[in-house]
Symmetry: C2
Subunit: 198 residues, 2 copies
């Protein structure tokens, strides 16, 4: 045990407490408030664990869970990037890359490199693990929006066609069975996302 | 793929959204609000991943992470039990057991049984994995309190002696190196937990 290592690990763990203050666009299912990125990461890890059988290719579910626990940590510095908001994605990618260097650099060398490599793998979305993780990162807010009369889609006037276009690649490629369900949900909703009241 | 299974899994994943509304006693590190059990579970999983080298015995870190993601899910029905508040622990244990039956019972049979077994293993705190998980579940709020002039200890007039007594068994047994650090922190704090201002 290296005392300096423990200091560094605790510094990192304290620093990422800030993820609890990064507010996303998606609401909680009861619509009482918006979701933050820390609880979103927890929920995604549970999605991965329980829905692993729907991955397009065989995955190492323990790696996928860690990838999802980690995937938004850079938002501590860089903030959240809503999928439907106009934004400069190059600028955001640069902010996130700087955040990764700073945050993972707080950790002991080998551990920092492990997290950096896993985060980059998620961002690249090329490995089977990363493709499934990315699919879930889209599927969870999709389910929230479907369950809340359109959620962020209603707020941002996103049409059914735009939804099908913006989500199909990532969910369809990483978890085709879940994407088939998404298509069914969209087809069952009217264009303004408001379900008829019973 | 069984359509009914996916329906059940999504029902469970929607149900545990409620964990984001279970508020714990511990504050965020910036003291802006209290922490909820979902983001607490995320943070603990990160603690496990990064501090695994301090486990008292060899652990399967992927199981520990899943155990911690899961450990508070019963609070969706049963609520949080603060460590320093007077409460009827038998009654709480019964509420949690009922919650486990209802919640894990939403899942397909084998998956529900897997989660039930892992939750019971955590509660029993007998296996190496569970002892380490329990240690972290105490260590994380300990670090928060130390970092916030006593946090919930100040609020509840918990003395240094009471702190040492209430946390020593679980942290000391599961992660002795972390407990040694806790003892150093307590020794460095005055009895009222307020650090001298610089």
């Amino acid at each position: 045990m290296n005392v300096d290592d423990l200091d560094k690990q605790l510094m990192f763990l304290k620093e990422i407490d800030g993820l609890k203050r990064v507010v996303r666009q998606s609401p909680l299912l009861d619509r009482s408030r918006k979701e933050n990125s820390a609880e979103h990461s927890w929920h995604l890890a549970m999605y991965a664990w329980l829905l692993q059988e729907y991955a397009a290719e065989p995955v190492d579910i323990s790696r996928v869970i860690r990838m999802l626990l980690l995937h938004d940590v850079v938002e501590v510095d860089a903030g959240d990037t809503p999928i439907h908001a106009p934004s400069d994605r190059d600028d955001q990618a640069e902010r996130e890359a700087r955040a990764a260097v700073r945050l993972f650099g707080l950790l002991p060398g080998a551990q920092g490199e492990e997290l950096m490599a896993l985060w980059r793998e998620f961002e690249a979305a090329e490995s089977a693990d990363a493709k499934f993780a990315k699919a879930l990162d889209r599927f969870q807010p999709f389910l929230v929006n479907i369950s809340t009369d359109g959620g962020t889609w209603s707020e941002n006037n996103v049409s059914r066609e735009q939804v099908l276009k913006r989500y199909s690649v990532e969910i369809g490629r990483g978890a085709p069975r879940l994407w088939a369900l998404c298509e069914e949900w969209v087809a069952a909703h009217p264009e303004n996302w408001q379900r008829p009241k019973p």
